[in-house]
Symmetry: C2
Subunit: 283 residues, 2 copies
C-alpha cells in the first residue's frame, strides 16, 4: 500500500487540506498519540467511510500528562504507525513537534465543564484541559468536516463533543465502538506495558463490567452493585480501582434508571492504568 504523505508543520498541513478543498473533497480527521493498534485502524475505516480523505495526527501531547505520568515511556513507533496507516488507506499523517504545537510564549487553555467533571478529572486534574486545548488546536489547524474518536475513552469523547458544541467548532464528532480482543480486553496503546500475567488479569475487567451492567438493567441497587464490581476488580488481581461509576450516556450526569447509561472504570494493574466502559441500556 501507498504510505501516507507526512507533514510536520501546520502550514504544510493546511496546504494539503486547501488543495483537497479546491478539488471539492471532504476531509475526516483521527487525532491519535501514535502507537497505533486495531482500535485506531477501525477509526480510520469509519473516517474513510464518511469522507474522501483522512488525516491522522500523531502527537504525544505533553500537556495531558501529569508530571508523575508516563509521558517519557509512552510508546513511540512512527515507522510502524505509518505502515499501519498505509494499510488503512490513510492519505495524510500530521506529526508535529511539541515546538510546532506549543511555540515559545504559548499560554492558552480551553476548559470544558459539564462532562469533564469527576472520574478522570479526580485522578488527572488537568487532563481534559490538555485534551480540550490540543484537540481545539488540531481541529482549527485542519478544519476537517468530521473527526472520529473511540468510545474506549468515553469521557474524552463526551468532552470533545461538548468542546465543539460550546465553542462552535464546525467539526462533526463521531464516536466509534471500542475494539476488543477475543477475551473482551479493550485495545489500548498502554496494553503494551502488561506482562503476560497482568494481561490475563486485565481481561477480567470488561467481563466484570458487562455483568455489572446486566445486573443494573435487571434492577439491582446501583451503589451496592458498583461496590461489588469494585471488589471483583480487586479480586481479579488489579492493584486499585480509581473509580467505577454509572453515568448518563450523553451528559455524564449521575445515571438514572430511565436513561441510557454507561459504566465507566479506571483501574490499576502494576504501573499500568487501564480504562474501559460499557453501555447500560435504558429499562
Amino acid at each position: 500500500m501507498k504510505r501516507p504523505q507526512v507533514v510536520e508543520t501546520v502550514s504544510d498541513l493546511r496546504a494539503v487540506v486547501r488543495e483537497w478543498r479546491r478539488q471539492g473533497l471532504s476531509v475526516a480527521m483521527v487525532p491519535t498519540m501514535g502507537a497505533l493498534h486495531d482500535g485506531h485502524v477501525s477509526l480510520t475505516r469509519i473516517a474513510l467511510e464518511r469522507a474522501d480523505r483522512c488525516v491522522v495526527s500523531i502527537f504525544v501531547n505533553p500537556t495531558q500528562f501529569a508530571p508523575t505520568e508516563d509521558l517519557d515511556k509512552y510508546p513511540r513507533q512512527l515507522a510502524a504507525d505509518l505502515d499501519r496507516l498505509a494499510d488503512a488507506g490513510v492519505q495524510l499523517a500530521f506529526t508535529p513537534t511539541a515546538a510546532e504545537m506549543y511555540p515559545q510564549g504559548f499560554d492558552a487553555k480551553v476548559t470544558i465543564g459539564g462532562p469533564s467533571a469527576g472520574m478522570e478529572t479526580d485522578f488527572r486534574p488537568t487532563f481534559f484541559e490538555g485534551v480540550a486545548t490540543v484537540v481545539a488546536k488540531l481541529f482549527l489547524q485542519t478544519l476537517p468536516d468530521c473527526a472520529v474518536f473511540g468510545e474506549k475513552d468515553y469521557q474524552q469523547l463526551c468532552v470533545v463533543k461538548k468542546l465543539c458544541r460550546d465553542l462552535d467548532i464546525p467539526v462533526e464528532i463521531i464516536g466509534a465502538p471500542t475494539i476488543r480482543d477475543t477475551e473482551g480486553l479493550a485495545m489500548s496503546s498502554r496494553n503494551a506495558y502488561l506482562s503476560p500475567v497482568e494481561l490475563t488479569q486485565a481481561r477480567q475487567l470488561n467481563k466484570i463490567l458487562r455483568k455489572t451492567a446486566q445486573a443494573l438493567q435487571l434492577g439491582a441497587e446501583p451503589q451496592e452493585t458498583l461496590d461489588e464490581a469494585r471488589r471483583q476488580i480487586i479480586n481479579a488481581g488489579f492493584d486499585g480501582v480509581d473509580y467505577v461509576e454509572a453515568r448518563e450516556s450523553n451528559t455524564l450526569a449521575p445515571w438514572r434508571r430511565d436513561r441510557d447509561g454507561r459504566i465507566l472504570v479506571a483501574a490499576r494493574l502494576g504501573a499500568t492504568r487501564l480504562i474501559d466502559n460499557v453501555e447500560i441500556a435504558a429499562v
Copy 2:
C-alpha cells in the same frame, strides 16, 4: 443606502457566509457590542478595504461584564446601528441572542495568559476570559479571513491576536487606529454616559497621555513620569485612576526604553470608566 442583511442564528450566519465562499468572495469581520460610533465605522471601512464582504456582529456579551458593571444600562440601539452599517456599506449584521450564544449547559472557557495579565485584569478579573471565549465563538461561527479590532482597546487587541496565534484560529487580526474627536477624546460607546462637564474633563486624558509619552521618549524616568501622569489625571477632574502603565507594544511586558511601547490607562469619571492608550516610539 441598502440596509445590511440581518441574521440572528449561527446557522443563518453560516448559510450566508457559505454562499459568499461559493462565489469566491473574501470575508472580513468586525465584532462589536453595538452602540456604533465613528470608531466602529472606521473599522468597517478597513474591513471592506481588505475583503469583499463585511459581517458586523452586534452582541452585548454578558460574560465580559462583572455583576457590578454596566451590562443592563450598556447602550442598545439596533435600528440606529443598522442605519450606520447601511451607510458604511456593510453587507451582514449578526445579532444573536444570549441564548443563541450560550445555550443551556454551555460551560466552556478560553483563557489566554501573556497579554491578559495585569491592567484590565486587575480591575475586571474575568473580563478577558469573557472576551476570548466570545471572540473564539464568533470567529468559529463565521470563519472570516480577517477581523478588525480598534487600538482603543489595546490590551484586548493583544489578547485577541494571542488567542488566534495560540489556538490556531485561522483569522488574521488587524489593529485599527483609534478615532478621536477634535480634542483627542477616544470614541467610545461609554462616552454617551458623560455629562457636559465630564466631557470637558474626559478630553484632558489623551492630552496628558501624549505629554507623558513625549517625556518618556525624551528620557524621563518611567515610574516618576507615570506617577506624575496619574496626578495630572486626578487634577483634570477624574475620580480615580485604575492604572496608568508603560508596556511593550506587542507582548505587553513592562516597557524597556529600546522597544516600541504603549502607555495604557483606565480612569474613572463619576460612574463612567474610560480607557485610552498612546504609542511610545522606540528611542
